[in-house]
């Protein structure tokens, strides 16, 4: 099945890449269908619901470029670093890639989920270390797995409202090290001790010490409101949509195969090498492991034992990584001589029941953002959805394709339809490339921009699910979800003329 899919996608690229002289294509766009593949492509451009998503009186916001350091399985090469080290590497890479003058940057925003308490505003620490001006303010946002999406949309809002012209948005996550705390009682005793004035007071406090005060407090592995781990939720979701173990393994295999192919073909151009202090230079993602269905079938369920369907092989893994993108007001970008890669247009966040619909965000957000933008599913040339679990992605695809679900749970008259797989995550996804919680959003956006550029599409759609909270093994979190649609134009100069 995966083989077929890949074939299909390849054919699509070919078709799209042929008529790359777009002026020509546009000019002939009024002509009726013909047999020529060139004309077919031209017609495809014509059938868009809208030629542009630009809105009057609102500044256009563009992405000039974006980079990420390789995403690594946690506990590997990055394990001795701190989060701001990774973020700094991403920022340096962005500076190098875009040559943006440091003093032009008005603002820096980073997303992260598990905070290192020493660098709670990791954006600021990383920016200072990367040599940005100490006059450039920076803040850190958190919104579970869509933290860097939040960083980017904050940047969009800042620019659109005229507050800033040049903003760097990014995200970082280091799962190799997580804050493990003393127990509450131990902390209380330590704090009281620091306030105790006399020896007697101190001794009486110390006398209350019990050995179990030393048991550590781990970051919760479950959703705070429901006490359910995300993997558990994903397993139930897959069951609710009757998605079999085989389907999930097949989808995971597809993700890994496509990622490997994209890596081999050098399509993952957002990756910048990172010289890790004391270690070799890391040049590529290390979580891509295409396996076989037989081998995957041998794994035991990771969450609902012994009969669940979510396994280590069809879930995204704990990942270290960082990413950053340069976002500008369009006129500023042009004035600086940039050729922007994409416009950032409409975005939307939705949230729903954290128990049973934790991971269904994309289903809810997609039709809404399409409506807001005035587009349909058919208008979208590139879909990049965050892959938390195979089961979660397949459940979302099924939900989007179900009239029953749309009518009973989304208050809609009809389904929005599921994205065609040949346009969907064709350079791999979080399952294979990895998912550093705070950094995935920027990866999704750059993958979409690069795909549109490469394939000649116009509109891309990004969606991710997120939870409101903590981390659990081999999975992550989702409470609010967002989706992101924008129009890309590889012929930006022509458009501007």
């Amino acid at each position: 099945m995966n083989q077929d899919l890949r074939m299909t996608s390849l054919l699509t690229y070919t078709l799209k890449n042929l008529p790359s002289t777009s002026q020509w294509a546009l000019r002939f766009s009024m002509r009726p269908l013909s047999c020529s593949s060139q004309l077919q492509a031209a017609t495809a451009v014509q059938t868009k619901s809208k030629q542009t998503l630009a809105k009057p009186n609102i500044r256009n916001v563009v992405v000039v470029d974006g980079v990420r350091i390789p995403f690594l399985l946690s506990g590997t090469s990055y394990k001795d670093l701190m989060p701001h080290d990774l973020a700094r590497a991403a920022l340096s890479g962005l500076l190098h890639r875009t040559s943006v003058p440091k003093d032009v940057v008005d603002y820096i925003i980073f997303g992260t989920v598990i905070q290192e308490v020493k660098t709670s505003n990791v954006a600021r620490e990383a920016a200072l270390g990367a040599g940005f001006s100490d006059k450039t303010p920076a803040h850190t946002v958190t919104m579970a797995c869509i933290s860097s999406n939040q960083a980017m949309t904050t940047a969009v809002s800042l620019i659109a409202s005229g507050q800033c012209d040049v903003v760097v948005a990014g995200g970082v996550e280091l799962m190799s090290d997580i804050p493990i705390r003393h127990s509450r009682r131990m902390r209380k005793m330590m704090l009281d001790l620091s306030k105790a004035k006399t020896l007697g007071q101190r001794l009486s406090l110390i006398s209350k010490f019990r050995l179990n005060f030393l048991s550590p407090e781990l970051p919760a592995v479950a959703e705070f409101s429901t006490n359910e781990t995300m993997g558990h939720s994903a397993d139930r979701l897959a069951a609710a949509f009757a998605i079999s173990r085989l389907e999930q393994d097949e989808y995971a295999l597809r993700s890994h195969s496509l990622a490997r192919k994209a890596q081999d073909e050098g399509l993952l151009s957002d990756v910048v090498p990172f010289k890790v202090p004391g270690k070799d230079t890391v040049t590529q993602d290390n979580g891509i492991r295409p396996s076989s269905l037989e081998q995957m079938a041998k794994l035991k369920p990771a969450f609902i034992k012994p009969y669940g369907t979510v396994t280590a092989a069809n879930s995204s893994f704990l990942t270290d990584g960082a990413s950053a993108v340069l976002i500008l007001a369009e006129e500023k970008a042009l004035a600086m001589g940039y050729k922007p890669k994409a416009y950032l247009r409409d975005f939307m966040y939705v949230s729903q029941d954290p128990k049973d619909q934790l991971l269904l965000g994309p289903t809810y957000a997609t039709p809404k953002v399409l409506e807001k933008a005035g587009l349909t599913m058919n208008d979208i040339d590139a879909f990049e959805f965050h892959e938390a679990f195979s089961g979660q992605i397949l459940a979302n695809l099924k939900a989007m394709d179900s009239d029953w679900f749309a009518q009973n749970y989304m208050g809609r008259k009809a389904k929005v339809g599921s994205p065609p797989l040949e346009k969907f995550n064709i350079w791999g996804g979080s399952l294979s490339l990895g998912h550093p919680f705070g950094a995935t959003g920027c990866r999704l956006v750059m993958a979409t921009a690069n795909r549109l550029q490469k394939e000649g599409g116009q509109y891309g759609l990004v969606a991710a699910c997120a939870a409101g909270g903590q981390v659990c093994h081999r999975s992550f979190i989702g409470a609010s979800r967002k989706s992101f649609s924008w129009k890309q134009n590889r012929f930006i100069q022509e458009w501007l003329i």
């Binding site: 409101s225 979701l237 609710a240 009969y307 619909q357 029953w404 679900f405």
Partner: protein
């Protein structure tokens, strides 16, 4: 006012399982079409697994009755004889119910214990065949799995349950005065160990799925699903079936072992149980405890111990025989008839006879954050009702809010709620000192001090701010509602809602309607009460309504008995040994001496000599010395925080001594004292029915048992008259009448029943 343990546990029944499914379909068809004519069970074959689905027609629950039983035998015979089938899954098609128990009507229709024993033996035989089945059978349990349902499930080779709040496993037979009669007394001890089995069968408590898994009662859990390709309940059942099928296949292929690994503690326990001496000690301990708690008034628990013992010591053949015989004997006892009657009554009183109100109550406001007000708030917020709690001072309000929080937090400690749910529920409560937001209230319940002029003041204030649709309910135990409503601009919206303290523990809600109360107002009040989880009786307005009015003459008698020289401890033991959950003197302390005096005075004025007996002076002197009962730390007893054994308050002696009246020896035996109390209660209850305060005897029984702690083993005053005999009660009343006068004059309705023995309150 008094929490009754035995009765409290009755509340654990969830599903109404007395609905008998009507319409036995006649089998005029040929054998081949038999499949089509089955009404309770159908089955299909998936691969080599038979999926047997139980779905009793026209009922929300599945009950094990004759038809289901015989269809089950048919289906199982087909399963066993089919060469295609290698294993089976047993599942219910009803959301929220596997099998809720045996059909009670089937038992009550029997007239001799032999008939009942026979029913038991048939079930035993069937379940034994299930147990010995060579084709593994997996019980897939979603929802209540109680009584006979549990017995069927534990006969199967494997059990899978959904981890849903509705999934409850239990053996509640003891609460109906019977025992599990289809093998549970023999199988449960083997499955979960003797101590846990005793706990289940003697308390009747329901066990949630996760706990059942830990105990070894179920082998696997399945999480309930959210929305997906189908509605959640439907898909969850489907998913449960899918999982059960994989396990059934695994069992048939011997890839899965039905035996589970026991933990260390379990291994140790079972080792200890293999020593005869240890077993004897356990039987002894359990028996002692049961005797102490039941005071010999309930025969079922002792028989359960006996049957379990027989099975373990003499082998299962003797055990099964003993089980079926004792089951038959118990089903014929007065106690089981009384308890079953209560169960039915409880089910009836959990329905809204008045239909759905025009507007659902969503915003509730409670005036007064005292014990009652806060208690009402507590049972409202956790049902999702937006609740305003208003008091006059910040201190009183704070105390009330803390009471609500503590109530919710206790549930967190018991793991019935998560801390997140607690916080979300607590957010439904708004504490305030003014009338802000009352303009949106759908119902106001006032729980201010019992003073007519204060209630009038509050009513007028509230009516100035609430919308027209808003119901005004008064939580009073004795003030007539019509008097409160006298100052109302819209008396049709005024109603009485008499809660019992502690509100979160006491199940009863007495709703009082005046002649002017509209039907819609009543429907609203009943709806709110049901939402709060109450058992509801609706009575007509009058002094003391029903419950307080029955209690008052008994209380008057309590004071007289104390004046006659019977000590509070002796009186308490006489009443508890008669079946009251709380002794009579303690009851006065719990109710509050001032409240008792207030009620006695008020009702005494209205009803005159019939309510006389003890001297009010006793209560007055107690009040003047500050002995208000538990709330002031002293009453007949001394109450200290953290001290369990309460001591007598010796200062009472001088009061009682100074007001001593001579006792009359021929009506002062222990038994006479008990009957003086009970007959006054019963006589007044029957009078309430005669006067139309009560609509039905059922409501009278439910009110007396769940609100006042009338002995559950007697089933309530009306059931008691039926079972004990009206003539005997009249005889006793006449005897006491001769000694004390009019207070004991039997009412007309009671005399009617005495004169025609065929007349029964329950036909």
């Amino acid at each position: 006012m008094v929490a009754s343990r035995a009765v409290g546990s009755l509340s654990r029944f969830t599903a109404s399982r007395m609905l008998r499914c009507p319409g036995y379909i006649c089998r005029n068809f040929t054998r081949s079409s038999a499949l089509l004519t089955r009404t309770h069970i159908n089955y299909g074959v998936k691969g080599d697994v038979a999926v047997i689905r139980i779905n009793s027609p026209n009922s929300k629950v599945n009950t094990l009755g004759q038809e289901l039983h015989s269809e089950f035998i048919e289906v199982m015979n087909e399963v066993w004889s089919s060469s295609q089938i290698r294993s089976a899954v047993l599942i219910s098609s009803k959301p929220g119910c596997f099998i809720a128990g045996a059909d009670l009507n089937m038992l009550t229709a029997c007239t001799t214990s032999q008939e009942v024993t026979q029913i038991s033996q048939e079930a035993q035989r069937m379940f034994e065949r299930v147990e010995k089945s060579t084709k593994p059978i997996v019980a897939a349990i979603n929802g209540s799995c109680l009584g006979g349902g549990l017995e069927l499930a534990i006969s199967c080779q494997y059990r899978i349950a959904t981890k849903d709040k509705k999934t409850v496993l239990g053996s509640p037979e003891v609460l109906l005065g019977i025992l599990p009669g289809a093998g549970a007394t023999q199988r449960l001890p083997k499955m979960v160990g003797v101590p846990a089995a005793f706990d289940m069968m003697l308390t009747g408590r329901g066990i949630r799925a996760d706990r059942a898994k830990k105990m070894g009662l179920v082998d696997q859990l399945v999480e309930p699903l959210g929305p997906g390709i189908k509605p959640p309940e439907e898909r969850t059942i489907e998913y449960l079936e899918e999982v059960a099928i994989t396990f059934a296949k695994g069992l048939a292929d011997k890839k899965i072992s039905p035996k589970r690994d026991k933990g260390l503690v379990e291994k140790l326990t079972s080792y200890a149980m293999s020593i005869p001496f240890v077993r004897q000690q356990i039987y002894k301990k359990v028996e002692e405890k049961v005797r102490k708690q039941t005071k010999g008034l309930y025969p079922a628990p002792l028989k359960i111990i006996d049957v379990v013992k027989t099975g373990i010591e003499q082998g299962s053949d003797a055990g099964y025989l003993s089980e079926s015989q004792k089951f038959g004997e118990l089903a014929m006892t007065k106690e089981s008839k009384a308890l079953m009657g209560l169960y039915r009554g409880q089910t009836l009183c959990k329905k809204n006879k008045f239909g759905a109100p025009q507007k659902e109550v969503k915003q509730l406001a409670i005036l007064g954050a005292g014990l009652m007000g806060a208690g009402i708030a507590q049972v409202s917020v956790d049902k999702g009702l937006q609740t305003i709690l208003k008091d006059a001072t910040l201190a009183a309000l704070g105390r009330g809010q803390q009471q609500v929080f503590r109530g919710l937090n206790d549930k967190v400690k018991k793991k019935a709620l998560t801390s997140f749910e607690r916080d979300a529920f607590f957010s439904n409560l708004t504490g305030q000192l003014d009338y802000q937001g009352f303009e949106k209230a759908d119902m106001v319940i006032e729980a201010v001090f019992e003073d007519l002029s204060l209630k009038h003041k509050v009513l007028k204030e509230v009516e100035a701010v609430i919308p027209d649709r808003c119901v005004f309910a008064s939580n009073t135990s004795a003030l007539p509602i019509s008097e409160i409503a006298a100052v109302s601009k819209r008396p049709e919206k005024v109603i009485g809602m008499h809660y019992f303290s502690p509100v979160d523990k006491m199940q009863l809600l007495e709703i009082i309607t005046t002649q002017k109360t509209s039907k819609d107002t009543t429907a609203s009040a009943v709806e709110v009460g049901l939402k709060q989880g109450k058992v509801i009786i609706v009575v007509k307005d009058g002094p003391g309504f029903y419950t307080t009015r029955c209690l008052a003459p008994m209380m008057s008698e309590v004071i007289r008995i104390l004046q006659e020289g019977v000590g509070p401890k002796k009186l308490d033991s006489l009443t508890t040994s008669f079946g009251f959950p709380v002794g009579a003197a303690t009851l006065v302390d719990e109710v509050g001496v001032d409240v008792a005096k207030h009620v006695a005075e008020n009702l005494g004025k209205v009803f005159g000599e019939r309510f006389a007996g003890g001297s009010l002076e006793v209560l007055k002197q107690m009040i003047s010395k500050g002995f208000l009962g538990r709330k002031s730390g002293k009453g007949f007893y001394i109450y200290q925080e953290g001290v369990k054994n309460k001591n007598l308050n010796s200062d009472i002696n001088s009061i009682l001594a100074s007001l001593k009246v001579p006792s009359q020896p021929d009506v002062s035996s222990d038994e006479d004292i008990q009957y003086r109390l009970v007959t006054r209660f019963v006589n007044e209850a029957v009078l309430c029915l005669q006067e139309g305060v009560l609509a039905t005897p059922t409501e009278g029984d439910i009110g007396a048992v769940f609100g006042l702690g009338f002995p559950p083993c007697l089933g309530g005053p009306f059931r008691f008259v039926d079972l004990y005999g009206a003539q005997k009660i009249v005889d006793r009343l006449r005897k006491y009448e001769a000694a004390y006068g009019k207070q004991f004059t039997p009412c007309q309705l009671l005399m009617d029943h005495a004169s025609s023995p065929n007349k029964k309150f329950y036909q």
